[in-house]
């Protein structure tokens, strides 16, 4: 019998993502991949996988999935959500928290509710999904229908094939929840086309709070707020490359931060680029939230990138046995503050000015 997760309800926008499709941008193929690679890697490590394996990226509202395998080990990492394991009889079972693993068996159903604290939650399964990589990656680019599960977001009725027919029994693990709070100011390196903006335009970018627009998606975060004044050089350039986090400003003067599904090249000037260490935090932010920017130099950006890499490399050593036995005492679990109790300020590179 094939091992699979059957999609009962897909959630708002659930796609398979890994760390992205590298090596094809020169042919016009976007990188895609996890909006929050930190939590993707945490989910995989908890499920017993290599950190960069493909997992389900869940946005805003989680899916309901029936277990159609003898057993499967799962782990979720990201925003807070009610994660319920429902028995074959439909009765209420365990409630899981993000950042811990659990073994589910045939006939059970996994139901993930609405997210808070982050726009994104990753659900990893031990062994991963049996989906053939496209150009070296399982990531889904829905625009273009490339990769993932049939090139699209999940739909009710989908059967997501699993690589492993069963999950061996062993002690489950947990990870002290990561600090997913957005930084007070998202750090940028100015350029490459900051000379296409007036001094006043640059000052506006760095002084004003912006609101994340509902028109944002995996390609770009559109911002609402004061417009940036272009210099005499104007708002058209001869197209050049686009980096992760490029802050592109078209003729209307409103910045767009380009995210995972960004186009490979573009003809609007890029006033600044969000540093790589702050990009996962952007992926977690929701429409309506406020965002402000601060300029840093390249050395600061690189130090932050090294600090984040160390933090990710350190995740396995922070994993611990899930000592707490699951119970159906939902109220007690909800009463525990799972996120803020485990903040490690030392490891937070965003505390820098």
């Amino acid at each position: 019998m094939t091992a699979a997760l059957r999609v009962i309800a897909p959630g708002l926008m659930t796609t398979l993502q890994d760390l992205g499709r590298r090596g094809y941008q020169h042919l016009g193929v976007p990188v895609s991949g996890a909006l929050d690679p930190v939590c993707l890697q945490a989910a995989n490590l908890l499920a017993g996988n290599a950190p960069g394996m493909g997992a389900l990226e869940i946005a805003y509202q989680g899916p309901t999935l029936a277990i159609e395998a003898d057993s499967v080990r799962i782990a979720a990492a990201g925003g807070q959500a009610a994660i319920d394991i429902i028995g074959p009889d439909g009765g209420a079972g365990q409630r899981l928290a993000p950042f811990e693993s659990a073994r589910l068996t045939r006939g059970q159903t996994l139901r993930i509710g609405a997210l808070s604290g982050s726009a994104i939650l990753y659900l990893a399964v031990e062994g991963g999904f049996a989906v053939a990589p496209v150009m070296g990656s399982q990531s889904t680019l829905t625009r273009g229908g490339i990769g993932g599960f049939e090139g699209r977001a999940l739909q009710a009725g989908d059967m997501l094939p699993l690589r492993q027919a069963a999950a061996p029994e062993r002690e489950e693990v947990m990870l002290p929840a990561l600090d997913l709070r957005p930084p007070a100011r998202v750090r940028v390196v100015l350029g490459p086309q900051d000379d296409h903006f007036t001094q006043a335009g640059l000052a506006t970018l760095l002084a004003s709070p912006y609101t994340i627009s509902r028109a944002s998606d995996r390609m770009g975060m559109r911002l609402e707020g004061p417009t940036l004044e272009h210099s005499a050089k104007g708002y058209n350039i001869v197209s050049d490359g686009i980096a992760p986090g490029s802050v592109q400003v078209p003729g209307n003067g409103l910045p767009i931060v380009l995210l995972a599904d960004r186009q490979t090249t573009g003809g609007y000037p890029k006033v600044a680029t969000v540093i790589s260490a702050d990009l996962p935090a952007l992926g977690r932010m929701t429409p309506g939230a406020k965002i402000a920017f601060a300029a840093v130099d390249i050395e600061t950006a690189e130090a932050a990138a090294r600090a984040l890499a160390l933090e990710i490399a350190d995740l396995p050593s922070r994993m611990a046995p899930a000592a707490r036995k699951h119970s159906i005492d939902v109220d007690k679990l909800l009463g525990e503050n799972l996120i803020s109790g485990a903040v490690d300020a030392r490891a937070d590179p965003r505390s820098e000015p």
Binding site: H26, V29, G241, I242
Partner: protein, 258 residues
Amino acid sequence: MAIVEPVPAADQPCFLASGDTALIVEFGDRVDQRLSGLVVALAHRLEQAAIPGVVEMVPTFRSLMVHYDPVKLPQAELKRRLAPLLEGLEATGGIGRRWRIPACYHESLGVDLIEVAERMKLSPTEVIERHSATTFHVYMMGFLPGLPYLGGLPPEFGLPRRENPRIRVPKGAVAVAMSMTVIYPLESPGGWHILARTPVPLWDMGADPPALLDAGDKVMFEPIPLSRYEAMLAEAAAGRLRLLPEESPGSRSGSKRA
């Protein structure tokens, strides 16, 4: 035949940081085949150099974007490694492959041909003749997987984009604007003026690399009648149509840059 020119001092490239994971090597700010030749030549050298930490590179009209991992390769070190590769860089015309791509300019497919001809004050036949007599240079791939930006048209093709972009431009559409040509590899929204359609797949997920063209290639369009187009389209649908580059000394066989 390779066209070899040294880099004039005025065109010394500059580095532009695009955050901490991408560095732009910019040769200029205009659409120019010689600049593009320098970009492609640098991409070729960088590919050969295989610098640890360089993830991939994206040639554009006038610059090369180098994507890299700042944990393995800080920007200052990347610049140090790039400097010798820029020395004596020559814009070569001999790296790319040469292609002859069949295209049907029949008005049922080249739906904007008559309007374009009127705006250019030419007959449709003259537009077809000038378009198909042009040797195009592939400046870059972008916008969509496998979409080439082809330059080399005479200036009278300098039409702006359509005021009302189409929601659906069909796969294979050959379209012009701003003295450039693009070929849509997939059905997509688009705002350029459609002159023709090619039955040749520009993007084939089963092929490696999946894109037919690459920056630096040379392309000419070969007009074909509607009956030939339809026959070739049927071959393409059956997976039997895969265009090969023309044989020419010094041409690079389909190498994958990664």
